[in-house]
Amino acid sequence: MEFYLVVSTIMFFAGVYGFITRHNMIAVLMSLELILNAVNINFVVFNRFLFPGQMEGMFFSIFIIGVAAAETAVAIAIILNVFRSSKKIETDEVSKMKY
């Protein structure tokens, strides 16, 4: 079971590196998807090996996938709106507030 946990830890921290380092907002969203998938693998592995008769890990993973889908959709809507008004989506160049 430890091998699955190693895989998910490496995936999580690769997502953290991308979240900290990247400038483009869409690349930051992709790193966030990596983080959420790593957490999903962790839930499922703990369910299969430590609690084999129960299904809570799988259902939690299903709800995480659903919430991630909704959040990505709203984030992309916001990014498109920002792009329409200021033509760039780098995290260090979108710095002017409205007033």
Partner: protein, 148 residues
């Protein structure tokens, strides 16, 4: 590779491979329903949406500007330190393995009845809550991204 590539579309394709590989991991653990959900929602929904937005907001083929080396080293230090700490904590534990690890897929009837039931370990309330969340996200998404 999807966090270091300088072309955005290639990063999206590497993410596609990662998501397919995660679905493969779920299949190895005998979670067939979850693997099907992963492929259909993540690959067939979220990744397609991401690729659309990449085409809408950037020129395909241009390289993103180089990240400063000090920022890269700081990010790498944080990630490596976090990985080392988590791996140390995870691998030095004695896990209380169950006596019999059931190797079979979960029955679809059981999944359906758990998702719609109101007993102790059943999930009707989160199901309804997530449907309200999805409704709010649909309305919010349309409102934010519409043409004035």
């Amino acid at each position: 590779m999807s966090v270091v590539s300088r072309k955005l579309l290639r990063a999206a394709i590497y993410l596609l491979f990662v998501l397919l590989a995660t679905a493969g991991l779920y299949l190895m653990l005998d979670y067939h329903f979850l693997a099907a959900i992963q492929v259909s929602i993540y690959v067939g929904g979220i990744l397609v949406l991401l690729v659309f937005s990449i085409f809408l907001t950037s020129q395909v083929g241009e390289k993103m500007p180089k990240v400063k080396t000090s920022k890269k080293i700081a990010g790498l230090a944080v990630s490596v330190a976090g990985t080392a700490l988590c791996l140390y904590v995870l691998l030095t534990q004695n896990y209380p393995y169950a006596e019999k690890i059931s190797k079979g897929e979960i029955d679809m009837h059981a999944i359906g009845q758990s998702l719609m039931g109101t007993e102790k370990f059943q999930y009707l309330l989160p199901f309804e809550a997530i449907s309200v969340l999805l409704l709010a996200c649909i309305i919010g998404g349309i409102l934010i991204a519409r043409n004035k």
